[in-house]
């Protein structure tokens, strides 16, 4: 039998102060980057146009810009996309950005003989109205996702567990967004979908540990402190947490490397999210419940042992 861990008994909860420091540092780096470098929003949210073109020969970016400048689109953002002859041209929303933008870009590029033949691979146009709506929808989606999960955990376990799981989720989401910002990637609709998936995934892991804690209640737990019980539950589910993280990590890492350029940012968030989601399950979610319970008990009120009550 191959085993990653043989009867694991790591003292995760005991070292939670360290974990808090690491998490705090990561979250602060993430927030710092979001504050300083900011997040690049995709046209899904800002409105604007995106044109993906492929040339027969790798062109000079300056030649592309010159061709675009002729039709008044000189301030577009031009990025190489995946390979040297494929480019993405982003046109910010302005009076210029109309529904005919794709045609305009194509005609401008086709008119320039130096650039050779050009193929239109993708045209996206998002009007200001739709962009604003998508922004709102994105916020709603995340809030509803978190609320739904909070309600479910609060109903199945208890409020402390729910709140701790949600804090762990915020931790994961902040780190993912920070990683997006640090690497200069775009926040688009698929990235939002990835974030929501990570929310589900991270909570999923946490629930397995909570479930175990609850199941263990009353079985030879006499004389063990709540912290010890939580640590036991995390350890007992550790193999599963790590194994699942591994298979999911494989799947996402393959998406990132083989899934193509269009999916890259999406897969990137999944990869980061799987790692931090696993970490936060092992180190953060349980630890928060322990500290909260200790705090409540410390104030003299005989707090019920969180999560374990059911």
């Amino acid at each position: 039998m191959i085993r990653i861990f043989r009867n694991p008994d790591f003292n995760f909860i005991g070292r939670r102060r360290w974990a808090y420091c690491v998490s705090l540092a990561l979250v602060l780096i993430g927030l710092g980057s979001l504050a300083i470098r900011g997040l690049h929003y995709d046209i899904d949210f800002t409105g604007g146009a995106l044109v993906q073109v492929r040339f027969e020969q790798p062109p000079d970016v300056r030649a592309i810009r010159a061709a675009l400048a002729k039709v008044g689109l000189g301030d577009s953002v031009i990025q190489e996309f995946g390979e040297a002859r494929e480019f993405i041209i982003r046109v910010p929303l302005s009076a210029q950005t109309s529904q005919e933008i794709g045609t305009k870009v194509r005609d401008a590029l086709a008119a320039d003989d130096a650039l050779g033949k050009v193929e239109m691979r993708r045209v996206e146009f998002v009007g200001p109205q739709v962009g604003r709506e998508l922004q709102l929808q994105a916020i709603y989606a995340v809030l509803f996702g978190i609320a739904g999960i909070l309600i479910y955990i609060a109903a199945r376990f208890d409020l402390k567990g729910g709140v701790a799981a949600i804090i762990a989720v915020f931790h994961d989401v902040t780190i993912c967004l920070g990683a997006l910002s640090l690497t200069g990637r775009e926040f688009s609709l698929p990235v939002l979908a990835a974030l929501l998936t990570i929310i589900g995934y991270s909570v999923n892991d946490t629930i397995v540990a909570y479930d175990r804690l609850r199941e263990n209640r009353g079985r030879g737990q006499r004389g063990r402190s709540f912290a010890e019980q939580m640590n036991g539950a995390v350890n007992q589910t550790l193999s599963r947490t790590v194994l699942t993280a591994l298979t999911t990590f494989f799947a996402t890492a393959i998406l990132l490397t083989l899934g193509g350029k269009v999916l890259e940012d999406f897969a990137f968030v999944l990869v980061v999210g799987v790692v931090t989601g696993t970490y936060s399950t092992i180190y953060i979610a349980g630890a928060l419940v322990v500290d909260w319970t200790l705090y409540v008990e410390g104030r003299g009120s005989k707090g019920k042992k969180a999560v374990a009550k059911a």
Binding site: R122, V126, Q137, G148, R156, G200, E215, T248, L263
Partner: protein, 518 residues
């Protein structure tokens, strides 16, 4: 052997058979999203404000005529804003007569009246306005559907979204510009007389009488591609519209080679009206206006009987053909504008499919090998369950007519990673029970039972997020939510039902089970 074993085998067999039946042949059964097969996705906004304004404009004209018929003197009857008509009578003495006329306009309510000077405002009711919005949007959907049908796009989707939006999906369209022009064109054809009392110079300087407007003719120089705009002063009053025509067809333009024109035939009533207009205005110029642009303004030399007219412009044969479709199907009840467009070329779609399939295959291979090495025979069971999972996932998508998008493919790859989670949960639990000294059979029993509750909990949380994604997402993201949702549901079924069945088949049948290969 437990009695219900055969029942369970039968159930799985039925599930597999139904899945295969739904999936064959796969190319036709799985709907590919526009991001995979190439095509245009459009969201159009119907300009309902303008539709209501036009309705109000017509009502104002009717009201003016009704007053004139009664011999009531008027200073001014004009549309004000989108929904109001402001009225000023020549003399307050005819106040009561005017109110009688106004009371016949039941969808308007009188406001801001001042009897002493003889002025009031008629405002369109809220209910009428929302009904107009509904009519305009519904009409636009229908017209666009007819145009697309005539254009010949297989499996086009044209549906209304919300109050005033239209979602259009055209898979596999080769020439997106042409399709967009055909769909987005209002197609309002109007015949109006030129206002010869006002010179173009005066109009350009902004001195226009209330009854006239300045319209332009667009000409593109065939050589330099420079566009010039020729101004015309046109009477606001529309004498005849395209609603009166019965046919439109394409002809070569005899006066300019390489250009095409559209010949239109009026209905009997339209022909009569056209005859009257031309008879009454011999010597004047009649502007043919399409969507607010002048196409030509020929001089009327004599009465034109027979109800035929020709629209000339610098049309290519395709443009002329599309214009003929637009004119035959009739104008949109309101102008539309593109709020969102996503066009994917066929080559990018093909690349995406290839890369997505590679990613799925690679994920599957890695997970397969991993499970097999780590859990041996049990891993093989999990792998078989994974194959069934994939089969069920695709069959469900085919059965529900769900659309597979690029993020949807990513969702499948991701589900493969997450679906083994259920098996891992169960297997780890069985190992633990064995460790605690349980006998193999009871370890299996306990492993499945204990893991079950956890499995339900973990699935519900991800299903909740998938459901929310579906509700808030658009196109591609919805596809991701669908494959995640269906994939997880399938994994719940296979892990709890199918994996268990295989374990029972392997270990329950035997008299004595000494070890489990796990």
């Amino acid at each position: 052997m437990p009695r219900n074993l055969w029942l369970r085998i039968g159930l799985i067999a039925v599930a597999v058979a139904v899945s295969l039946w739904y999936l064959y042949p796969p190319k036709q059964r799985i709907n590919l999203g526009l991001d995979l097969q190439g095509g245009i996705h459009l969201i159009l906004g119907v300009d309902t404000k303008k539709a209501i304004a036009a309705q109000t404009e017509r009502a104002a004209e009717d009201f003016r005529q009704a007053l004139e018929r009664k011999g009531i003197g008027i200073k001014r009857v004009a549309r004000e804003g989108d929904r109001a008509i402001s009225v000023a009578l020549a003399s307050p003495a005819s106040w009561n007569d005017a109110l009688t006329v106004a009371s016949q306009f039941q969808t308007f309510t009188r406001k801001a009246s001042d009897q002493t000077v003889g002025t009031f405002t008629l405002e369109m009711d809220e209910r009428e306005a929302s009904q107009q919005i509904d009519l305009a949007t519904r009409g636009a959907v229908e017209k666009i559907r007819n145009r697309v049908d005539k254009f010949g796009v297989a499996e086009a989707t044209i549906t209304r979204q919300g109050d005033d939006r239209i979602l259009i999906q055209l898979p596999g369209v080769q020439d997106p510009d042409r399709a967009k022009a055909l769909i987005g064109q209002t197609g309002l054809l109007e015949f109006k007389l030129l206002d010869e009392r006002t010179s173009v110079e005066e109009a350009l300087a902004g001195r226009l009488p209330e009854t006239a407007e300045l319209l332009f003719q667009r000409r593109v120089d065939p050589e330099s591609k420079q566009e010039t705009k020729i101004p015309f002063v046109v009477q606001k009053r529309t004498l005849l519209t395209g609603a009166e025509l019965t046919d439109a067809s394409v002809q070569a333009d005899p006066n300019s080679t390489g250009n095409w024109q559209v010949s239109i035939t009026f209905s009997a009533a339209g022909a009569q009206r056209f005859g009257e207009i031309t008879e009454n205005s011999v010597g004047r110029y009649l502007a043919i206006v399409l969507d607010g642009s002048v196409y030509s303004a020929p001089r009327i030399n004599e009465r034109i009987p027979g109800g035929r007219a020709v629209i000339t412009g610098q049309f290519t044969v395709e443009q002329a053909r599309d214009l003929a479709i637009v004119l035959r199907e009739g104008a949109l009840p309101a102008a539309v504008s593109i709020l969102e467009e996503r066009t994917v070329g066929p080559s990018l779609g093909a690349d995406s499919i290839r890369q997505g399939m590679i990613a799925i295959a690679a994920s599957a291979a890695l997970v397969f090998v991993f499970m097999l090495v780590y859990y041996r025979l049990s891993g093989l069971i999990a792998d078989v369950a994974l194959v069934l999972n994939l089969l069920l996932l695709l069959a469900c998508m085919a059965a529900f007519g769900a659309t597979l998008t690029l993020p949807g493919i990513a969702g499948i790859a991701l589900t493969l990673g997450m679906a083994v989670d259920t098996n891992i949960l169960i297997f780890e639990r069985i190992r633990e029970e064995l460790n605690n000294g349980k006998l193999p059979r009871s370890a299996i029993e306990a492993g499945f039972n204990r893991a079950f509750r956890t499995i339900i909990d973990t699935h519900v949380t991800v299903l909740v997020t998938a459901a929310i994604l579906y509700n808030f997402g658009t196109g591609p993201v919805k596809g991701f939510a669908v494959s995640l949702f269906v994939g997880l549901s399938a994994s719940l079924f296979t892990a709890v039902f199918f994996t268990r069945l295989l374990f029972d088949l392997i270990y329950l049948g035997r008299r004595k089970v000494a070890t489990i290969s796990i």
